[in-house]
Structures are given as structure tokens and as C-alpha cells.
Symmetry: C2
Subunit: 201 residues, 2 copies
């Protein structure tokens, strides 16, 4: 029992390190965030940190997973699936524009993509999988809409998915940089127009 | 005369440092690129480097300006203005999709936006101005098209400009990450569709 308690306590410390360092890595990137920064943010000594993570990459990987899971949750939980594929996609876009990722520093996928495209290969592979999963999910909604006769049969699901993701991510980058919602609102209007046009009539 | 020669030689060295460090900063970001890295890339000693730039920020600012100027040049030189605003915008999108920024590491504006949104304020201000100039240029094309009767009167120039920029930048990020052109090609198809619909008939 005492051993189980120690394991639980160790796991709680590990989770606390991940949660606290997630924001650091998301804001500063892999190269811009040192283990010294993590020590300061967590209040742990070097030994305590390395007991839980072999190296900075190990921690950055867990921090990325944590940030991504938080972002996916806030953007996809409880989407209304009752009104068909077009409205589902519309509500996904609306949610993305209206909500901020719970881990500060913007979208962890885009940050990691930009940070790792010429950098860390493990993080790059994780970001690639993140986009691939996201595209599969959105294009699945489109395919289902086509099957149900709600979306025009000649619509290309991958193209719709890629366009939604690219437009939202680009607009989020601009909105964060400029400190205003206008680029995101403009993106939403453009994507709503696209969704109107793929809807079967 | 000898003094003029020394000034010219100094200026040539300065320009060489900027050109060589532009790629480093574009690939690695401000925090991810040290003066040590720049010394290695240029073959200069610390003293030689600091003779030309007071600090890393000074050099990063010049490197960003250089990278941005190169990207703007390759993306906007010799665009065909003879066939009206819609075709001009279409050819701009096509050029963006077809050409790679001459300074390796992707779009310097997006890289700096992501790197500096929680980081260096001077670089952030420069990136903000870069997007603002780009938006002004594209929305100027739309406004001119409306005046000439080539674009529908109810079109919102800012919205069209923001959508083009966001979609292209997001798609470029995905294409670079995935090592394929598909996201950019999909973005081009979607933007072509949008341009078809704002054209006056």
C-alpha cells in the first residue's frame, strides 16, 4: 500500500510538471524553452525533474500531447450532431472562432508545426499526426454528409477538410498577432459561404 | 577614397552577415538561434559580428527584413495586371502556391508571427506591419476591381484579403509539415472558387 501511494504521488508530480510546462513549450517553442525555465515554473530541482523525464524532448512530447488534448476537447466536446453534416461543420468552425485554447500560447498543433518543421523530428511527427487526425475527422463528416444526401455528391471531402483547417489556423495566427478577432471572423464568413455551396439543395 | 573603400567593405560584410543569418533565424526562430550559430554560419569572430550589430535583436530585425523582402519579391514581381482584378488575385494565389520563398524555412511572416506572438516585441511589430501591408495590397486590388465593375459591389475587400492570406498561410504550414503540395493545391482550388463568386457577371 505504501508503495502504491508513492507511485500515485510520483504520478501526480509528473502530471503537475506536464501541465505547468505545457504553456511554456506552447508559448516559447522547443528551442526557446529550457529545463531551467521548467524548473522555475514547477519549483522543482534538476534531480526531481530528471527523475520523471529523461530529457527535454521527453517532457516536450508529453507537454505537446497534453496541450493538444486540451485544445481538441474544448473544440469538439458536445458538438451538435443532430442537424446534419453541414451544420456540424458550421458549428465546428463557430466553436473554433469563439473559443481560446485552454493552454495559453495559441494552437499547439500550429505552434509545433512551425517550430518543428526545421527542428525536432519527434515533435514534427506528432504534429503531422495531429493534422492528419483532424483532417480525417472533418473529411469523415463530409463523406457522411454525402452519403446522407445532405452534401453534393461531387464534393471532395479532403479538400473541404484541408481548406477549413488551413483557413482557421492561418486566421488564428493573424488574430493572435494583431490582438483582434477580425481575421477569425472573416475566415468564419468565408467558410460559411463555402459550406452553403456544398450543401445539397 | 580609402575611407570610402573601408565603408563599402564594411557594408558588404554587414550584408553578407544578414543574408547568411536570414535562413538561420527563419528556420530556428529568435530564441532558437544564438549568436554562436551566426558566428559558425558566417565564419566571423564575436568581435567582428558585434562591430556590425549591437545585439542579437538588431541582427534578427535585419534578417527578418531581408527574408520578407525576398519573399515579397518572388511572390509579387511581374504579376500580370492587364486582365483585371479577379485575374490578378488569381495569379497571386497561383504564384504563392507554385513558388517557394527564396530564404529557406518557410514564410518569414508566419514564422515570425508564431515565434514572436509570445516573444520579442520588436519582431512582433514588424510581422504585424508585414501582414497589414499585405492585406492593404490585396484589399486594394479588390477595391479597384469594384470601382472598375469587375467585382461585385457588395464584396468586402478586407474580408477577401484576410481570407486569401489566412488560407494560403495555413496551407503552407501544413504543406511544409507534411512534405506535400496537397494542402496548398486544395487551398488554391477553394480560393479560386471564392474569386469566381466575387466576380461581377
Amino acid at each position: 500500500m505504501r508503495n502504491g501511494g508513492a507511485i500515485r504521488k510520483g504520478e501526480a508530480t509528473r502530471q503537475r510538471i506536464i501541465a505547468r510546462s505545457a504553456r511554456l513549450f506552447n508559448e516559447r517553442g522547443f528551442a526557446g524553452c529550457s529545463m531551467q525555465d521548467v524548473m522555475e515554473a514547477t519549483g522543482l530541482e534538476k534531480g526531481g525533474l530528471y527523475r520523471h523525464f529523461q530529457c527535454k524532448e521527453d517532457l516536450a512530447v508529453e507537454a505537446f500531447r497534453y496541450s493538444l488534448a486540451q485544445a481538441v476537447k474544448v473544440r469538439t466536446d458536445h458538438l451538435d450532431r443532430s442537424r446534419g453534416a453541414v451544420e456540424l461543420l458550421r458549428s465546428f468552425v463557430k466553436r473554433f472562432v469563439a473559443t481560446t485554447s485552454p493552454v495559453r500560447g495559441g494552437c499547439p498543433l500550429m505552434n509545433t508545426a512551425i517550430d518543428a518543421d526545421d527542428g525536432n523530428p519527434v515533435l514534427r511527427a506528432l504534429a503531422r499526426k495531429g493534422f492528419s487526425d483532424w483532417r480525417a475527422r472533418l473529411s469523415g463528416f463530409v463523406s457522411e454528409g454525402i452519403r446522407q444526401g445532405e452534401i453534393r455528391g461531387k464534393t471532395n471531402p479532403r479538400r473541404v477538410a484541408n481548406t477549413i483547417i488551413a483557413t482557421l489556423e492561418g486566421a488564428l495566427m493573424m488574430s493572435r498577432l494583431e490582438g483582434k478577432k477580425t481575421p477569425l471572423k472573416d475566415a468564419q464568413a468565408a467558410l460559411d459561404g463555402m459550406l452553403d455551396r456544398i450543401a445539397a439543395r
